[in-house]
């Protein structure tokens, strides 16, 4: 079972979509560990199972079999309600596409997950501070359709951080962005990881993203094909 510094421990994880001859085996027995404070990229070709793995780690989906421990806790045994609470308190999630709620300002989008956790109204202040950190201090009152794609994604990162999560999951966060915006987002991740010790697990298919992370887990056909440690970790 997982060691104390392992924040994520995955054992023999399988995921199959459908039944019978038409069944698709997305994950075929993944073993993986992530240490606290690590910045891990999950890479691989389209259909390798990287997004499926991230969905399961982020408690958005259930595996067919296998085990997942997060902070030594078997999260697969949690009820839906407990999972929601776990996601709210322990996990942050940045989606591939813009995922801000269009009816809310950037500031409101960021503090929404904190409203039901905070006993005081300090979540506005925290949200403003986070938006300053991600470089959107001037965009608090703007609506998502009034800012660029890169800015929306940075706001999503701020939202994912509002409850000070143990792990930040990012599902191809730069896929919809231009090169400049993508590098801003990735630099931000790197800054969060190095300066704040934020554990980050990011799915990406961009080979260039390797330079921002500590370790790359390569998936191929639903299995871990290779694990490479980048220079900065070594």
């Amino acid at each position: 079972m997982g060691k104390l510094n392992q924040i994520i421990f995955v054992e023999n994880l399988h995921k199959t979509y459908g039944h019978g001859p038409s069944a698709t085996h997305a994950l075929k027995g993944i073993d993986l560990t992530v240490e606290t404070g690590e910045f891990v990229a999950i890479m691989g070709r389209s259909g390798s199972g990287k997004s499926t793995l991230l969905h399961i780690l982020g408690l958005l989906d259930m595996p067919t079999s296998g085990g997942v421990l997060i902070e030594q806790k078997n999260v697969l045994k949690l009820t839906e309600r407990e999972k929601a609470k776990f996601r709210l308190e322990k996990l942050g999630y940045v989606f591939q596409e813009y995922s801000l709620l269009p009816e809310m300002t950037i500031l409101e989008n960021v503090y929404v997950p904190a409203v039901c956790l905070s006993r005081e109204n300090d979540y506005r202040k925290r949200a403003s501070e986070l938006l300053e950190i991600v470089g959107l201090g001037e965009r608090l009152k703007h609506y998502p359709n009034q800012v660029s794609g890169g800015e929306q994604q940075r706001a999503s990162i701020a939202r994912a951080l509002i409850n000070q999560p143990k792990i930040l999951f990012a599902d191809e966060p730069t896929a919809s962005l231009d090169i400049t915006s993508a590098s801003v987002v990735l630099e931000l991740f790197k800054k969060l990881n190095k300066e704040m010790g934020q554990t980050i697990v990011m799915v990406t298919h961009e080979p260039d993203d390797e330079k921002y992370v500590d370790r790359v887990v390569w998936l191929k056909d639903g299995l871990v094909d290779a694990v490479t440690h980048t220079i900065q970790r070594q």
């Binding site: 996990l91 809310m104 929404v112 039901c116």
Partner: protein
């Protein structure tokens, strides 16, 4: 507390910062549904109310004083009238001498005794015209000619269903087939007395079953037919009119406390509309139920489309850890808000638009002039029904969507 706060916040944002046309459409549907829920029962209540009011206005007044069960007539009618007028809340008293009679028109043109000609048997009532105006509205319903005067002896006013002609609803052969003002009719009473009267007026009370099949002569004339010395101070019944806000039950109790040997009844005991009213209530309940069902389905579709269009947002909210109960709560708050807005706008349109219009321009039905009448029970059931339908219409789709897998809700896989 935080959960409720977040649900309220999400609902507020969705309503006021979401698609304005969706908001307008939903509130419009809710308003029309609510107005529709009020409309049909109000029409039926209006018809019932019209029929009831006709009974009071044209046939019975509010309270009827009858002879004791062993007697045909009330003796010392004038004394009883004076006593009745003293009772608080009584605004009019009219004693009547009732009879039936065989009425003929153009009887001289009959070819033989057995020829029916233009004739029939109808109710003929002797009234004091001056007293009667305080109790019934027959004097206001004269459509041709004029009302009786107290001194009239050889004149009669007849209901439109006796007179016949274009305005009558009754088949021509069951009427006098077009008698007009100034024409002579021959009236043969049960005691054999035969009188010829000039038709002074024709009235249309729009109570076609009884009032418009009646004729009126003065009470003095009727007494002379029946036997002046005996009947001059007798009455078949005395009708009592009460003030608008006066309790009929209290007036009946006051009459009974006078200690006169009479039978006192509320008009509704004569009215005989109980079955009709019950039938209308059943029809109103059925139509309301169907209306509520239709409103519910329409609201369901509109809210469902609204919720479906926000499926991805719901998925994202769940993905970032918002409890599904909070999301369901937010959509329920929205549904209740839409319903309340619909009730307010629908109620305003109905209360300050449709209902006043029909009060100013009542529907002129063969039954009478009908305006809309909203009963408290109708209002309550419509409000509760619309709220319940809105809650269900909001609850079902959002519950369905929040039960989907999160990634399906977000990416529609």
């Amino acid at each position: 507390m935080g959960n409720l706060k977040l649900a309220l916040f999400l609902a507020y944002k969705s309503i006021f910062k979401g698609n304005r046309w969706a908001l307008v459409l939903i509130v419009l549907v809710m308003s029309l549904s609510f107005a529709n829920l009020l409309m049909i029962p109000s029409i039926l209540s209006g018809v019932t109310n019209t029929l009831n009011q006709q009974q009071i206005d044209t046939l019975y007044g509010n309270v009827v004083v009858d002879p004791p069960q062993t007697e045909y007539y009330l003796n010392h009618a004038s004394l009883i009238e004076r006593q009745l007028k003293q009772i608080p809340g009584v605004v009019g008293v009219s004693s009547r001498l009732n009879s039936s009679a065989f009425v003929e028109y153009e009887w001289k043109e009959k070819s033989s005794q057995s020829d029916k000609g233009k004739s029939g048997t109808w109710s003929v009532i002797g009234i004091d015209p001056a007293q009667e105006v305080n109790v019934t509205t027959i004097h206001e319903r004269i459509i041709q000619g004029s009302y009786l005067d107290s001194n009239d002896r050889d004149e009669i006013i007849i209901g439109v269903e006796i007179a016949g002609g274009d305005r009558a609803q009754t088949a021509e052969f069951l009427t006098l087939q077009g008698v007009g003002v100034g024409d002579k009719v021959r009236v043969t009473y049960p005691n054999g007395v035969q009188r010829e009267y000039r038709v002074k007026g024709i009235f249309q009370a729009k109570e076609m079953f009884q009032a418009d099949r009646s004729a009126f002569v003065t009470k003095a004339e009727m007494a002379s037919v029946m036997g002046r010395t005996v009947y001059s101070d007798r009455a078949s019944q005395i009708l009592v009119r009460t003030g608008p806000e006066v309790s009929e039950g209290q007036v009946i109790r006051d009459i009974n406390s006078l200690g006169i040997d009479v039978e006192v009844r509320q008009w509704s005991e004569y009215g005989g509309l109980g079955g009709l009213v019950s039938s209308f209530n059943v029809i109103a309940a059925l139509i309301s139920t169907i209306g509520l069902g239709v409103a519910g389905v329409v609201m369901f579709i509109v809210i469902y489309i609204n919720v479906i269009s926000k499926r991805r947002q719901i998925g994202i909210l769940r993905a970032i850890g918002i409890n599904r109960r909070i999301i369901i709560g937010a959509y329920l708050i929205q549904a209740v808000f839409y319903a309340v807005l619909g009730i307010v706008f629908g109620g305003l349109v109905f209360g300050f638009g449709i209902q006043p219009y029909f009060e100013l321009h009542p529907l002129d039905l063969p039954l009478g002039e009908m305006s809309l009448m909203v009963e408290t029970s109708t209002l309550n059931s419509s409000v509760l029904g619309l709220l319940a339908a809105a809650i269900l219409a909001g609850l079902i789709p959002v519950t369905h969507i929040t039960r989907q897998r999160i990634i399906e809700a977000i990416w529609g896989n």
